[in-house]
């Protein structure tokens, strides 16, 4: 077993009186792909926000690469090597596609020339080179998701947090994104993957953590999860399908 790259222990997040996440613990090993699933409102995105410094956890600890990162700002978390994408894509609308990715690349270099080289590499990986000079705001959603991925890859993260990177995409688009993720993984990336699409999750993840109403419901291999009666009741039985 390789050391934990990320360890979340007993994390809770309260908003006023509302408990959005309650006592969730899990760990991610290096080079692992972990899926984080659960019905809408289960607290997945909130957990991402807590892990990446957007809102600090109310209780518990987030440890990344042996450092406690509870109170770090999002930019500090990114610079430590944990980077995220957004469920609702956030392109820098009036900048070009290339410039968007360069912004990411600037966290590993100060030189614009070099940032451009890195950005082109990442655009090649996701297949957006033809759109490099287009304005990011004008892309259709499928390409915006790819841009989101390229931009976050340009920060050269040790751990990648993907928030519904396939959400809102059709089958072909989903498959392209999954292919890209497989290629990234072959080069040794560690990924945590929030997804609704059960098929996508089971086809790509080593391990799955299931959240329900802010609490951890189950954890295991894709096979264990798909056969877990609690999960089926709460998640699959809840009328949700791919």
């Amino acid at each position: 077993m390789i050391k934990d790259l990320l360890r979340v222990s007993h994390a809770s997040k309260h908003f006023g009186g509302n408990v959005a996440v309650h006592d969730v613990s899990f760990a991610v090993d290096e080079k692992e792909i972990v899926g984080l699933i659960g019905p809408n409102g289960a607290g997945k995105t909130t957990l991402f926000n807590c892990m990446t410094g957007f809102f600090p956890v109310t209780l518990g600890e987030v440890i990344f690469d042996t450092k406690k990162i509870n109170d770090l700002r999002p930019d500090e978390v990114c610079r430590l090597g944990m980077a995220r994408t957004w469920q609702r894509v956030k392109p820098l609308g009036s900048l070009s596609v290339l410039e968007n990715v360069m912004v990411g690349a600037f966290s590993v270099t100060n030189k614009p020339r070099q940032a451009e080289v890195i950005a082109m590499e990442e655009l090649t990986k996701v297949g957006l080179t033809d759109y490099a000079s287009k304005s990011a705001g004008s892309l259709p959603i499928g390409l915006k998701k790819k841009l989101e991925l390229a931009r976050v890859l340009a920060t050269h993260p040790k751990l990648l947090l993907l928030d519904e990177i396939c959400g809102g995409l059709n089958h072909t688009e989903t498959d392209t994104i999954l292919d890209i993720i497989r290629t990234i993984r072959q080069r040794g990336a560690t990924i945590v993957f929030i997804e609704h699409d059960m098929k996508a999750v089971t086809s790509i993840c080593d391990r799955i953590v299931v959240l329900n109403s802010g609490e951890k419901l189950a954890e295991g291999t894709p096979e264990e999860i798909t056969n877990n009666p609690d999960v089926i009741a709460a998640y699959l039985g809840g009328g949700h399908h791919a």
Binding site: F54, D75, C78, W86, K90, P91, V103
Partner: protein, 332 residues
Amino acid sequence: MKQIALVTILAAAAIALPLIIGENPYMTGILISVLMMAALSSAWNILGGYAGQYSFGHAAYFGAGAYTTLILLTNYSTLNPLICMAAGIIVASLIALITGTIVFRLRGHYFGLASIAVAEIVRLSVLNFEFTGGAQGILLSDISLWGLDLNSKNPFYYGMLLVLAVTLGITAYLRTSKTGYYLMAIREDQDAASSLGINLSFYKNKSLVISAALTSVLGSLYGLYIRFIDTSAVLDLRLSIEIILTAIIGGVGTLWGPVVGALLLVPLAEMLRSNLLGDALVKAGLVSDTSAFGIFLKENLAHAHVLVYGIITVLCILYLPKGVLGLFRRTK
């Protein structure tokens, strides 16, 4: 290449201009105002246009430069004006850092509101303190620097031109540097920017301080040029709004927008202020010089330039939110 050639021609023309118009203090005065407004608006643009943080209180930094310089010179007349200018930069940067530290943690409307509050605190403090000359303002009798004839307007023309060139140079450099990309990322989406490793308050503060320092240099230069300042001339909210309006009309977040804006707005304001418009109406026989309406116009039209600014602001936001340069970009 084409751009470099164009800039060279523009610069040469700007340098040669005083020689062409000769000894014409009135014209030189207007040109100085154009250069100053272009530079002020460009300095504002670094913060407002690139980082997307609209300051509605830039007069505070302009006034900080002007007041610091003139207060020092009236008390220590042998000081080199450039040292006073440096002191102005320090004061303006301090005000900027205090404002930034308080407000840049927050999102939304807060920076705009706080920038006005800070500007008002500065204005009212200057008005109420004695060492600042209070409501009377400060009069500077005599200055000297390197044996230049500072009673002539030409040194100030070139001074303003230099600061404008530096401001545009900084803006052009920023546009292609890491900092510039970071500022634009912050303008476009703060959450995305911060998730990509951008320290939001550091970069916002950085652009605010650069912008404030340049603005304060212009204030110092203006103070040395006019040699009389009071709060209504250098610290008024109206000045802050003129600065923004100039950028908006030309094109916010573009390199040349503020220059275009100043070329359009300053002469217009001058025409209204000097009553050229009223005189023209009288000359055209539309209004009698002695009629009640004619007298009303004569007395009031000079004040109407702010009203005209208001109308331009409204029209610009409704019909030309990307400014004159935005118009060209679209048709390109």
